[in-house]
Symmetry: D2
Subunit: 329 residues, 4 copies
């Protein structure tokens, strides 16, 4: 029974705590949150105690720390947990600053800590199955990956202001997926963007509609498109083309019902947002971490993966702002 | 160049004459029709002469007779053409009377004439491909065939009166398809029907909504459902289940366009009726006949196939009217 | 908090007990099972006590009895629970004997007990959504319902022997669905069947491939086909055709992944069996029961629904054995 | 009856001549080809005379010139036909040189000639239907267009050498489609490319795998990806996302047959190449031209459309070669 300290009892913290409690392989020992009521309610639900962050990180009866606090706390909490000898599962991103991530990863490396970054989409059963088939050679050599990601509705412009922008806040998931699928590092990044959905987002210096194309040293290409709004649901698709064919994974409709009338054949909208679409992915992410820590096997995505995705997000942001391609080292 | 005499310049006669004229392997020498103007226009279009039915059947410069006249003329025209030594392609059915068909086939047998019956759906590229895979063992032993056939709109009740009823007029195509797919004779027929689309059809002693289930001596089952009306187009589907899996062939939408909005994902209605859906089937039917006659190879569907389908249609009609299963000999 | 006594700690008993325990609106107070170990394990998991069936039914701190014991115990346990004033959720069927069901329902009626029968498919989110749209008039007047149900693999012939046969054991779900969808009682039943999957099933006097067509007094038709084996998964489809169009609900593939190669486009098999496909349906069934009992509103499917489905299953069995249509009164 | 002179009796010349001959609204009066035999055979087939290019352009009994000669002849033949007062339908491109196109269009403008450029994909029934719905506002304001175009197999490297490169030879169709769909001019072009399919193509200075993203002055984005090879057929898809939803149009499979086995559900490969996929598009292009010339209405795509597509192709080529975004004026 792996004992967890869960930092953060917000939306994602709750999802993860419940997964741990129901896993049969681990349990939540402690929960911390800046809002005592949130911590208490979740602790009651999963049979844990409420404690302060520092106490949890130092607790002798905790082997693993799950970090689901706001982004600005991630790096320091990783460092503290690493120094305390804990295994760490941290929600993305480690930091909006590449330099800060690099610093943090030095501590992790020095301590040889186990650190997994919560890029949940790698654990979506559909995407994970697709990636497995890619690695097994189902379509031969990979040539191009295409990722479409559209949120159902834009966040308030106030959120956008502190988000780091669409490339760091939203597309970072797709940038990580592109690396996951293609299996090589991208060296060139070109970005386009515009505020077409909400002018207020543009006024905050961000965009809500974006396209990025990237290339690896060997010539492989990834194309990512994002929109902050889609009327028909949370649109999440990947497609990889290779020398022997194509692999793709699509969306899930709310039901399988189809109605045919004189107006045509109508299927339901697709699953509305990430809690529906990636519910299983969040669970699989945590279960994978538990198994890896329990068995002493390596974890993926690693801190390095978190760093690389952030570098690509920075490059995309710069490319969009300057109108020039950006090289990633 | 196989020379055809075409009897009947109506809708199907025109389609077939054009296929012959464009085939590069045959030509239309003569055309007959009770309406001189129809015969003349079609003759002009395909470079043929207008003549009387009897003269065409006897003409020395004609090797094949294509019969697309009204049903009551089919049997006698087959007999005359057979006696004149011509190869014959006759639109279904030979006759609404099984006894009359049997008589007619005796003449054909005596003369060893080539007679093909125009069950066009066997030549639909989708259905033909499915049948080929069935025969190649793609799903192992056949266990059950399911055929759905819905017309876009009901005929006028006046048409129904002289049509022989839904089983002989509409379902006969599906009864032939069931034999074509399953590859065995059906020995038991059970039918249900009702006039749900148009009460006037019921008043003519017919139904517009029907279901038939049939079984072969070895136990294989076919299930056919018909409706005289479907709001979303001409619904034509087949599915065969076997020991190793399932084969199915579906409909074709008017375009591949799909629109996704908050109301869901909408695809176009399916092709409207038989001229769109079975255009290629009609052409392939005639081209297959030309090749068989030219090469002296056997033709399918044969007069026997026409007879068997008619027996099943009679059995279904009787089962519907009596409420009892009917054995087919 | 509605307090449940759960009779039976087998596969379905477990599923239901977990749903109750996680509902937040009810809890499992007691569990009984002929196998003490099974009862104890499940009781430990959901925080219940183990007790004898009779004691549970009489317990003052139990308001609802969930019956998930073997079929032969259902009727007597319903009667006992009814006489003890409990609300009852009983897995289908009440009994394999229509006479026994009728007797049992007299007791239920006399006591005015709440009795819900566990036809889980009505609670499948896809089928439930389809039925709701039917009732809302999405396709106008209902004319024909088509239900396809294929298990992934046949049961052992030994199971078949005491199952009541395919119509009572497997098709009964589809017979209930047909009533649920069409909304009228069927008065005529015609059945065909054969043992094509496993000869040993035929030797037990049962069949493994079956087709039934039924008609209501107003002429509406239902067509049901069953197979005890499908290589590609648990095939569960419904389609309803009406005056304004068609509604259908289909299967769910294991993943959304599709691979395109020179051999074509390949999608995954569909969900393997009922625990995957109807997991949500089982949960929704129990939650619906809890809400109805808590709010004092009527439950569906009722004991009457269980009776009618059994009558149709008997009629189908008789029709198959005699080769004649059977009237249901 | 519009009288055509057809210049070029190669693959496309034949397709167009047959469409004209079968149109009922126009006829082919003369045909020219550098290969006399090709010209004679096609002339015989469609009832035309063979003549020299210059004579055809000057012929008093010709109103329209269809240019299907090799690309290097297009511009001068357009000019000659324009000076002779003929209406012109010219296969794409006018020239591989933007300067040459501009010169040519001056002549056309001076003479007020009717000139249509053969971007056939605009006339594909699926794409045309999608564009019509875009213009009708089906998805509100257009924000992003995505075009995927993959050939089934790469051309020989020898062809590539004189083709102008993938952006001018293959992607030009997609560049035109992007303008057609988005309805605004693109001002920024970013390209990536690599020779991943055939190293020999790379050695000729071209690439076989390419991605382009472009933006209009108002911020709308188009993303185009190309591959010179796809194992599963000729992959031609478009998708447009807007403020109210998404419109997309996909591929057509060889048949509608699907086979389900333990390995999954397999559909056929898609239509193999442009003669299958765009057969109807080629016909509709010519019929649209005939109607426009007959009725004196404007033609689209115009010479200006040809020029703009060529400018985008040049920009994409330059962007790929320099690694820098290119502005289009």
């Amino acid at each position: 029974m792996l004992r967890f300290g869960v930092l953060g009892a917000g939306r994602i913290g709750k999802v993860h705590a419940r997964t741990i409690a129901a896993s049969g392989k681990a349990r939540v020992a402690y929960i911390a949150d800046a809002m005592p009521k949130a911590a208490e309610e979740l602790a009651a639900e999963v049979g844990a105690k409420v404690a302060a962050v520092d106490d949890i990180i130092r607790a002798g009866d905790v082997e693993a720390i799950l970090i689901a606090t706001p982004t600005p706390f991630h790096a320091e909490q990783i460092e503290a947990a690493s120094n305390a000898g804990k295994a760490i599962l941290c929600e993305k991103p480690v930091s909006l600053s590449v330099a800060r991530i690099e610093d943090c990863l030095k501590t992790v490396a020095k301590n040889k800590s186990t650190l997994m970054i919560g890029f949940n989409r790698r654990f979506d059963p559909n995407f994970a199955s697709l990636e497995k088939r890619l690695r097994a050679g189902a379509i031969g050599n990979i040539e191009m990956a295409t990722i479409i990601s559209r949120d159902p509705a834009p966040p308030p412009a106030s959120y956008v202001k502190s988000s780091g922008g669409i490339f760091r806040d939203m597309m970072i998931h797709d940038l990580d997926l592109a690396r996951f699928l293609v299996g090589e590092e991208f060296v060139t990044v070109q970005a386009l963007g515009a505020a077409l959905v909400d002018k207020a987002i543009g006024e905050e210096g961000d965009c809500d509609t974006a396209a990025v194309q990237m290339q690896t040293a060997s010539g492989k290409i990834a194309v990512i498109t994002n929109s902050r709004r889609a009327s028909y649901g949370y649109d999440q698709r990947i497609e990889v083309h290779g020398s022997k064919g194509m692999l793709r994974a699509g969306n899930i409709h709310n039901t399988t019902v189809e109605v045919a009338t004189a107006e045509g054949f109508n299927a339901d909208p697709i699953q509305h947002f990430f809690t529906e679409r990636y519910g299983q992915a969040y669970a699989n992410e945590v279960l994978t971490f538990i198994d890896a820590v329990t068995n002493g096997t390596p974890v993926k995505p690693s801190g390095h993966d978190g760093l690389q995705a952030q570098k690509l997000a920075d490059a995309a942001t710069e490319s969009w702002k300057t109108g020039k391609p950006v090289k990633v080292g």
